[in-house]
Amino acid sequence: MMRAVLRTNVNRVDLVPSLLVALLVALALTLAATPARAAGVYFTRAELLKSFFHDSDRVSYRTLELDAAQRRRVAERLGYAINPKRTIYYGEKDGRVTGYAVLDDELGQHKPISFGVLLSADGHVERVEVMVYREPKGEEIRRAQFRDQFVGKDAAAPVRAGHDIVAISGATISSRSLAIGVKRALVVVDELLLSDDRISDAP
């Protein structure tokens, strides 16, 4: 095809319908190959967990409940009360836990932001991803430079936008929301799984 385009004595008019059809076919095949999804949906739960635990053999979950003492401590650490029922995912490889993940929502300006946090087995943030972003403004929090700020944080870190997390200029509300969500994931995993007194799994 390239030779036909470069050669000067080729009738260019013939080329146009061929190129157009080729373009339409390529577009149709690409659209067919891409799963149809709503604007702002970046990961499904399965996709994110597979990505988080790509090195593990399997990913499971536990639904745990904070006891009264834990509920009080969490409320103190976060500054607000939370639903005591929490679902925590974990990866397993060769019988060992490779890490934990929390999938959660946090309210943005009007609508919730769905996100996932990957934590190492000792409770440090390894990765933060935005799963679904539903609002017209503030989507810049998906930027890797912003999310990378959370990497390495543990439950003792403040994890506060405008403090140890630099907010994105013009996206302060969504910056704040993601930081609140990551902090909550850290504190919950710390209270339920990593601190000294633990409770048994819910039946």
């Binding site: 095949l29 399997r58 990866g91 810049e140 998906r142 013009g170």
Partner: protein
Amino acid sequence: MRISSLIAASASWLATSAAVTALAQPAVELPPEPPPPPPPTFVNLTVGGYGELHYSHVVPAEGDSRSSIDLHRFVMFLGYNFSDSIRFQSEVEVEHAFSGDGNPGQVAVEQAFVEWDLVGQALTLRAGVMLVPMGIINEIHEPPTFHGVERPNVERNIIPSTWREGGIGLVGRLGDSFRYKAYLVGGLDASGFSTGSGIRGGRQSVAEARADGLAFTGAISYQPLVGLDLGLSGYIGDAGANAGARFDSAGEPLELSVLTGGVAAHAQYKGHGLETKALFASFFIADTEALRSAKNADGSDAGNDAPARTVGGYVEVAYNVLQSVEATQLQLLPFVRAEYYDTAATIKGRDETPADRDRGVTELIVGLTLRPVPQLAFKADAIFRSFGGDRDGETVVDLGVGYNF
């Protein structure tokens, strides 16, 4: 033929990618999909606002000092989401608390526009009353976002904030770090230009504004680092066409085309306790000689004394001294700002007078901002103001409180 080979190539690409996804990946056990969180009440309607109360004590070069207390602004935002991609946004303001005959206040619509996302976030149509996208303060002026009780005078006098126009335009975000705005709006009225206030008096505020002269304005914003915002904006318009009928000294109609244009550039960084801003702005006004010597039909004077150029800039640094205190979200920021602005930087068609030289103003502002929460600020500042000519300087002390939600 070439098309069949293209189809074959696409098919084999598809087959390969399918094989990749089917590779052994961790088996994932999922709980049932949780129910979606309930939408907040009135999710389509937004109500917000900001306001600021000022106390000001002016110590002039000579004469008595004077103090005032002013509810400078009380603003309500009202917005509505017609759909996921069509919205309405508005801002109504009451200035100086009490408007009406004999009272200093005014009620004004500062913004009222609809937005329609044509191509996601990359291309959005905007139409209505919009803020001219120049500088920092004109678009982002909620009190907790700037230091000092009053807005920086450079932005007030040169840009001139708050500057809104009626029109239509396109805005969008390209990638994660690049935003643009481009508007076609009604123009300024050159008969309001003056050496005392630059183009500020030429704003028509979309109040039965003459639109025989239009203007283009646009801005680009680039964020190479999280927390760093670099902006460049421009304006060009015909202010003469909106000035009304003018005649020359021979009684012939004057076709005044007072081309007015300007540029503003800024950089701001906010992170790790540091808040710093730098801004430059300048406007040119063409045909000021014709504007100055214009007459009415009956030969009486209808001119106004406008500068050929205005210019201004400032640099500001603030730091949160409580940055290392993790337990609190209280922020205390001492700041310092150096400003220069001149609403009569260049005069054409007549000699410069001492009054013109007085228009060059240098200000050194030091102050303190206390933010118990990010949306509330208690402010204090001292302004040391000096004038370019022989006019003596003055000192101002301000206290203020401002909020937004």
